[in-house]
């Protein structure tokens, strides 16, 4: 049957392509199992000669992983809470309300958000001097606030586009039924916004979980977050790639879980949000 052949054929191709595309990931796992770490190994073996789990043991028992993880989690939670509290109402407001300067601000947000990564580094020096004067340096809370501030433009813009796709009728209907603003908020809007919120959470998470430049400059050695710690594993002369790979895998795990858990929401979020044109 033509159907079956096509199915088998395409499925096989899909499998091969999947394997091909996740190959680097497999390579990382392989490096983590290596006894003496090097990314430039001269032998090509998936499972290294003396494969062992020493690197993972090292991560859990000897390295500063848990300290760094704790720091990262603190920053993560504070950032999520503060940025969502600020951006969700703002996104809603941009979507529903009319006010002076709305378009200007919205467009500026969109442009600013693309520019954040570039400006961030050069803006670091003045930011640093001000923070020192305010004695806010070397604080995880400060870092969290900076992260929150930096995602405000993009997340607000994105949520606005998402809310645009939620029909205003719902809000109006609830209002007519005499619900207070608070109630509308909690029972109508938030549930409908879940996919958008979740997508925002993923965007924000990706940023926090891979930002190390600002964190590296602001924090002292005992306060650094996981990305910074990971990057500092690269020594001046050589890098213990096996340790690095092991820690990197474990470090990628939370992100992976967050992502897997909300795949459903992500799908909707990416369709309804963004540009509608």
């Amino acid at each position: 049957m033509k159907r079956t052949t096509l199915t088998i054929f395409l499925t096989l191709i899909a499998i091969v392509i999947t394997l091909l595309f996740i190959f680097p990931f497999i390579w990382v796992v392989s490096s983590a199992l290596r006894p003496y770490g090097s990314l430039y190994t001269t032998e090509f073996r998936l499972i290294p000669e003396n494969a062992n789990l020493d690197s993972f043991k090292w991560v859990f028992l000897e390295s500063k992983f848990f300290i760094w993880f704790k720091n990262s989690m603190i920053v993560y939670i504070i950032t999520l809470i503060s940025s969502l509290i600020v951006t969700i109402p703002a996104g809603y407001a941009f979507s529903r309300f009319k006010f002076f300067g709305k378009n200007t601000l919205l467009n500026s947000y969109f442009i600013l958000s693309q520019f954040m990564s570039g400006m961030g580094i050069i803006a670091l020096i003045p930011l640093y001097t001000i923070l020192v004067r305010l004695k806010m340096i070397d604080s995880l809370v400060t870092l969290a606030l900076i992260y929150s501030a930096s995602v405000v433009p993009f997340v607000t813009w994105y949520l606005k586009t998402y809310f645009d796709s939620v029909p205003k009728d719902f809000d109006e209907a609830a209002l007519i039924d005499g619900a207070s603003f608070n109630q509308i908020w909690r029972y109508v809007i938030l549930p409908l916004a879940k996919p958008g919120i979740y997508t925002s959470v993923i965007f924000i998470s990706i940023i926090i979980w891979s930002e190390w430049i600002i964190a590296g400059i602001l924090l002292s050695a005992k306060n650094i977050t996981l990305p910074v710690g990971l990057v500092t594993l690269q020594g001046r002369w050589e890098t213990p790639w096996n340790h690095f790979a092991a820690m990197a895998l474990i470090y990628a795990l939370p992100m992976f879980i967050v992502f897997m858990v909300g795949r459903r929401y992500l799908k909707t979020g990416l369709t309804l949000g963004g540009l509608k044109g």
Binding site: R3, L10, T11, I17, F21, I22, P24, F25, W27, V28, S31, L39, Y40, F44, S82, I85, P89, A90, A93, R96, F97, F99, F100, K102, N103, L105, N107, I111, Q114, F115, S117, G118, M119, I122, A123, L124, I125, P126, L127, L145, A149, S150, V152, T156, L175, N182, W209, S210, P227, F244, A248, A252, F256, F259, M260, L266, T271, G274, L275, G277
Partner: protein, 313 residues
């Protein structure tokens, strides 16, 4: 937390205003809601942005930051534009954008079609699996690719050897390095683009397909006239984000080979970075960044006019 209390207050205030106001969606409440965001953002970034503009008009550098730099007006801008030091990185970046965007979209599209196809079994396993690279911190991925591209021991050249092809000096040749950036970029971004495209594809009502099939359309025609138009919006959105990201690209070329053999592949951001941190010329780099920003704004402007971007509904 402090924020919560302020928030409750704002809501109550909003609620009061609501009862008083005839028009529900009026100014007052709107502004209250967006204010915290603005305050948060500008309290951290307004000063640095203004300071950068300030810096761009002084000769501040590593050497005189402490001692006190001098104001030199627009001389940096003159150097950048008139002496055309700016154009080479710009052109290189442009070349990169024009090659990488079509490549990324094309490959993601192919993958999306494949993984959305009803002829492929095990999608529940395969699809999440192929999205794994998304969860890996990008700088780790780039380090791994760097190892794989190594001309002597990297996997890629060893695989080429097995097939019988000559090894390529990926990271040390001008064009091969350019190609390697494209490969890595595609690899880093395909999960995101694919998710967007597949989500869009799955939101196409089934009836459209059925209608088309009843009219006797071939798969290719269906694809061209049903699928593509329906996902066009998402494609445009995703392309825009990618164009801007490519314009600002830094991490991939920098970590792979610091901008090509002897700076031949220094794109805009890498050039700026070198000026700032290798040579310590902060003032010059700030002026450079501002020009980059202006060009970016113009790009976005053009793109938005072209696709009627943030049109108010």
């Amino acid at each position: 937390m402090k924020w919560n209390k302020t928030y409750k207050f704002c809501f109550k205030a909003g609620g009061i205003l609501l009862k008083r106001d005839k028009s529900i969606w009026s100014s007052g409440k709107g502004i209250i809601l967006i204010l915290p965001g603005i305050i948060l953002f500008f309290s951290f970034f307004l000063y640095p942005i203004i300071y950068s503009v300030n810096m761009s008009m002084t000769n501040v550098s590593f050497f005189n930051l402490i001692k006190g730099p001098e104001f030199i007006g627009l001389s940096h801008y003159k150097d950048l534009i008139l002496k055309a030091e700016f154009f080479l990185p710009l052109i290189r970046t442009g070349a990169f954008i024009t090659t990488s965007i079509p490549l990324k979209i094309f490959i993601a599209l192919l993958l999306s079609v494949l993984f959305n196809s009803k002829f492929v079994k095990f999608k529940q396993i395969l699809y999440p699996t192929i999205l794994i690279p998304w969860a890996i911190p990008w700088f780790l991925s780039v380090m791994v690719w760097r190892g794989m591209f190594n001309v002597d021991f990297g996997i890629i050249n060893q695989a080429l050897k097995v097939i019988g092809l000559p090894p390529v000096n990926w990271l040390n040749g001008i064009w091969s390095a350019f190609l390697s950036y494209n490969i890595v970029e595609v690899w880093l971004t395909y999960p995101f683009i694919m998710s967007v495209i597949i989500s869009a594809m799955q939101s196409i009502p089934v009836e459209f397909y059925e209608l088309a099939k009843m009219d006797g359309a071939s798969p290719w025609t269906i694809f061209r006239h049903v699928t593509i138009p329906m996902i066009k919006k998402s494609l445009i959105w995703v392309s825009l984000i990618q164009v801007i990201a490519s314009y600002m690209i830094f991490g991939v070329p920098f970590l792979l080979n610091r901008g090509g053999p002897a700076g031949s592949n220094e794109f805009l951001m890498i050039y700026g970075y070198q000026k700032a941190f290798s040579q310590g010329r902060y003032g010059y780099a700030s002026a450079f960044m501002i020009i980059v920003f202006i060009i970016l704004s113009i790009l976005v402007l053009l793109y938005s006019k072209f696709t009627k971007l943030t049109e108010e509904e």
